[in-house]
């Protein structure tokens, strides 16, 4: 029985469908802007006996009929240009037949141009150079619709700050959104940030809009990981930290390293080292127990004449422990004497460049241990470590060796208590030498600095006369130093602990090795500027190949020059072929690392490196030749 009923209904449906065709009206898009085209499609189940099809269109104020469709199979199609003013539309189709006056009517379809509509010029911003003060990108969102446009924003990943984050825009109005990268970025990587707006625009694919895509990096800066000599050391020790900055296309202006101290406040290390690639190394003296944190590395650099800043936050912690153990260094002309006070036996190491050596110790008293180290005469830090079997920390102290005027100068310092010297205090060719007072109880180790080579004693004269009376000073000079440079002698006066070029005219009597000048009371000396021995063209103070016998994978080439200059390094093999070259700029008085040779690119054997410097890239004013060997 059931089967009979279903069969009857099926047959009836087929007959009705055949006899009375069905009409379906569809309109796309449903939401559109005024003046845009809407496509009407009437689909008939059968076109048999169809005379014509029309669409009747209603809006709030009028009715119109669309004739003459384009017929495609069973589809009757109209393209309708909507009115320039926003409206809500309704439409239905009527199908007329030849054989009967009865028409059939389709469904009622609606569409509207009365909508909120967003218009955004999505933008892609490419910041090659990462900076912690990134430029703000502004993107305008227009409401080109007739209703209020609502929006909210978000970013992917979430580190973009978009302001305002949400809002409403009236018809015909514009809202400007400010987009800023709010992330800690690391050079060497490429970051992609997308800013989106979610709107109530009902049109297809207009709900989620890309406002901006911001690409950051990879940057011309590459910063090596910061290495710390020890993360656990006793009070009084030095903790060495070092890192390298490699860059291209930019000039590093200055670098600042900040340590948070356990008692509060910060310890700052500043480097003014414009260089093509620079290595930064300093020692932090642990003066009190607690936690020290390397909080910030700030790098200012110049890119396309704009100063930009990059901040890194390494957050490396060092624990300073109270201890009864102590280490003191006594730096002598050729040796450093290490003295360790400890009840347990220390093991003392020295790190001199890449070499780490264990020192032999002697025990002059039950709790005193000493060792001696004959140090090499090259610029750079010399770090002594003492480890103990009974406690898990190290004592360390660092001596920095400086090259002054191309020669080794035996200065004994660590970086605790650096004097801050204004950049324009001295002429650019001055050598700044810091003198060690040697008072271990007082941390103010440095009392003076000297932009010149002193060639006389210091004389101090005070006067109670009013008005101030000028004295004639006579100072005996060291003729061995001055020889040939009598006209370069200058008078220097001590002011607030600094030696200032006084400007007084020295009268020189060469035969008597005396300099006379007339000045007010004060402390004076006679000096000669170190730059008098250098010509106007750049000279190489030192050219160092490390190591001379390359057993490892790299050979590094360093030069120190007496003024900023261009350099060219050429490496010849024994067949007189130039097998590697490097050129660039070198900075005055620094141990510029100019090239790191990958020894895997060359066969083993003997090589010669020729370094030349000049005031311009193609000029050579000085050169050095050194041999080195590769034995991988």
């Amino acid at each position: 029985m059931k089967r009979a009923i279903f069969t009857f209904l099926f047959v009836l449906t087929c007959v009705i469908s055949f006899s009375f065709p069905l009409a379906t009206l569809s309109i796309t898009p449903t939401y559109l802007l005024p003046g845009e085209n809407a496509k009407f499609v009437v689909t008939l189940s059968s076109t048999q006996d169809v005379k014509y099809v029309v669409v009747k269109l209603f809006d709030s104020s009028s009715t119109s009929t669309l004739y003459n469709p384009v017929i495609s199979g069973k589809n009757y199609i109209w393209n309708y240009v909507t009115s320039k003013s926003p409206k809500d539309y309704k439409a239905l189709a009527e199908v007329f037949f030849n054989s009967t006056s009865t028409e059939i009517v389709s469904n009622v379809a609606t569409f509207t141009t009365n909508i909120p509509a967003a218009s955004v010029n999505s933008t892609i911003i490419y910041n090659q150079f990462i900076t912690n003060n990134p430029p703000t990108t502004e993107v305008s969102v227009n409401n080109v619709g007739s209703k209020v446009l609502e929006f909210t924003t978000y970013s992917s990943p979430s580190e973009l700050k978009i302001s305002p984050s949400k809002g409403e825009i009236e018809s015909g109005q514009t809202c400007k959104l400010k987009i800023t990268v709010n992330a800690s970025l690391v050079p060497g990587q490429i970051y992609t940030f997308d800013a989106y707006a979610i709107t109530n625009d009902p049109r297809k694919d207009m709900k989620k809009l890309l406002l901006a895509r911001i690409l950051e990096g990879p940057d011309g800066l590459v910063i090596s990981p910061i290495t710390i000599s020890s993360t656990r050391a006793s009070v009084g020790s030095d903790v060495n930290f070092n890192f390298s900055i490699f860059h291209s296309g930019i000039t590093v202006k200055d670098v600042t390293v900040m340590w948070s101290l356990p008692q509060g406040g910060e310890k700052t290390f500043s480097y003014y080292l414009p260089s093509n690639s620079a290595h930064f190394s300093s020692a932090l003296r642990l003066n009190s127990a607690g936690e020290y944190e390397l909080s910030t590395v700030k790098i200012s650099y110049i890119y396309q004449n704009e100063v930009k800043t990059l901040c890194l936050f390494p957050k490396i912690k060092v624990e300073a422990l109270s201890s009864s153990k102590e280490m003191n260094l006594n730096v002598e002309k050729d040796d450093v004497i290490v003295k360790v006070m400890s009840k347990s036996t220390p093991t003392i190491y020295v790190e001199d460049g890449e070499n780490k050596t264990k020192l032999s110790i002697i025990r002059p008293s039950p709790s005193t241990w000493t060792a001696s180290y004959n140090y090499s005469k090259i610029a750079g830090p010399l770090t002594f470590y003492a480890t103990f079997a009974d406690v898990n920390y190290v004592l360390s102290k660092t001596v920095n060796r400086y090259l002054a005027n191309g020669e080794m100068t035996n200065f004994s310092f660590d970086d605790e208590g650096w004097l801050t010297i204004a950049k324009d205090t001295f002429s650019s060719t001055s050598v700044i030498a810091l003198f060690y007072e040697g008072n271990e109880e007082n941390l103010s180790y440095y009392s003076a600095y000297n932009p010149f080579m002193p060639v006389s004693d210091v004389v101090t004269v005070a006067s109670g006369a009013t008005p101030a009376k000028k004295f004639i000073y006579h100072l005996r000079i060291n003729t061995a130093i001055v020889n040939g440079f009598y006209d370069k002698l200058k008078i220097y006066k001590e002011e607030n602990g600094k030696w200032i070029n006084d400007g007084a005219t020295p009268i020189v009597t060469p035969g008597e090795s005396m300099v006379s000048f007339k000045e007010n009371e004060g402390t004076y000396t006679v000096g000669i500027s170190p730059n008098v021995s250098s010509s106007t063209t750049p000279k190489i103070n030192s050219f160092v190949i490390m190591p001379r016998k390359a057993i490892g994978k790299t050979v590094q080439f360093f030069i120190s020059v007496d003024k900023d200059c261009y350099y060219k390094l050429e490496i010849y093999d024994m067949r007189s072929r130039i097998v590697d070259t490097q050129s660039g700029r070198a900075i005055k008085n620094l141990g510029n690392l100019i090239y790191t040779l990958d020894t895997n690119t060359l066969p083993n054997g003997l090589y010669v490196a020729i370094i030349s410097v000049g005031s311009s890239p193609n000029e050579i004013s000085d050169k050095r030749i050194e041999s080195f060997s590769i034995v991988k």
Binding site: R548, S576, R577, I578, P603, S612, K623, V631
Partner: protein, 280 residues
């Protein structure tokens, strides 16, 4: 026969596959440096060892010594070689010592033994090289060369440093293998001068030189050499050969990359050849 051809082909490919060419001082001859290194197609006796072994077959017994100061004396090279003829054969041996003078960081010895056979317009030579030194445990290679005379032109073809390998005193010991070098040369013997040239296809070296007899005992020499590796290096060389009885004194000075470095890296060579045959 097929097997031999295939085996040779595989061997040749294998030999070519090493990326390095040997880094050694390979110009001990003053005469050669004066003519831009173009000694390969010439029969110069004892000093031809380390160049083209076929050149040993000049029909004389000779002793040869040279001293070289390179890169303003930073690199020095001493070289001693001798050849003896037995009928159509010439046998030779040499020792070469290379070292830097600015720091005692390295030295290198090279010993060579070889022979050459000359028949009418054709000669064929072969020699074995062995290395030792401060950082070299052992090393060896094979050189094969030929010179063919056609009218007043000599042609040469030399295969140098075949199967070359050096065991270096690194930790662990490292054996470095080197590509062979193929050197072509040609020399023209005119009535008033001799011109010679060579091209080392493997190490990208090219040189050309001329020899002008001034008197019976004096010859003027000039040459030009170019090398290409990372960058071009150019050399202009001058020299003279003084023959006095059984002695030949060669002097040469090479203006190496002179536009850049003046004479500071220019090598100076002096060598003395003693000709036993002539003396007897």
């Amino acid at each position: 026969m097929k097997k031999i051809v295939i085996l040779s082909f595989i061997l040749l490919i294998g030999v070519f596959s090493f990326s390095y060419t040997l880094n050694e001082f390979n110009e001990p001859s003053t005469f050669s440096r004066a003519i831009g290194g173009a000694i390969y197609p010439l029969y110069e006796g004892a000093q031809c060892i380390t160049y083209n072994p076929a050149g040993m077959a000049n029909g004389k017994d000779e002793a040869f010594f040279s001293h070289t100061e390179h890169f303003l004396g930073v690199i020095r090279n001493e070289f001693l070689s001798m050849t003896f003829k037995v009928k159509r054969f010439s046998f030779g041996a040499s020792i070469q010592y290379t070292y830097p003078t600015d720091e005692e960081l390295y030295n290198q010895y090279k010993l060579t033994f070889g022979g050459a056979y000359k028949f009418q317009n054709y000669s064929l030579g072969a020699e074995l090289n062995a290395w030792n030194g401060s950082d070299i445990r052992e090393g060896h290679s094979l050189d094969i060369g030929t010179i063919l005379k056609f009218n007043n032109v000599n042609f040469s073809l030399t295969a140098k440093n075949l199967f070359a390998s050096i065991t270096w005193n690194s930790s662990p010991l490292e054996v470095e293998r080197y590509s062979p070098e193929f050197v072509m040369g040609a020399a023209y013997f005119g009535s008033k001068f001799t011109a010679s040239s060579y091209l080392n296809l493997s190490s990208k070296e090219f040189g050309i030189g001329t020899i002008f007899p001034v008197t019976d005992f004096l010859q003027a020499l000039a040459g030009y050499k170019m090398t290409l590796s990372k960058s071009f290096s150019k050399e202009l060389s001058f020299g003279m050969r003084i023959s006095y009885y059984d002695f030949i004194l060669d002097l040469s000075y090479v203006f190496k990359d002179a536009f850049k470095y003046g004479d500071s890296i220019s090598p100076f060579y002096i060598s003395l050849t003693y000709d036993f045959t002539k003396g007897v």
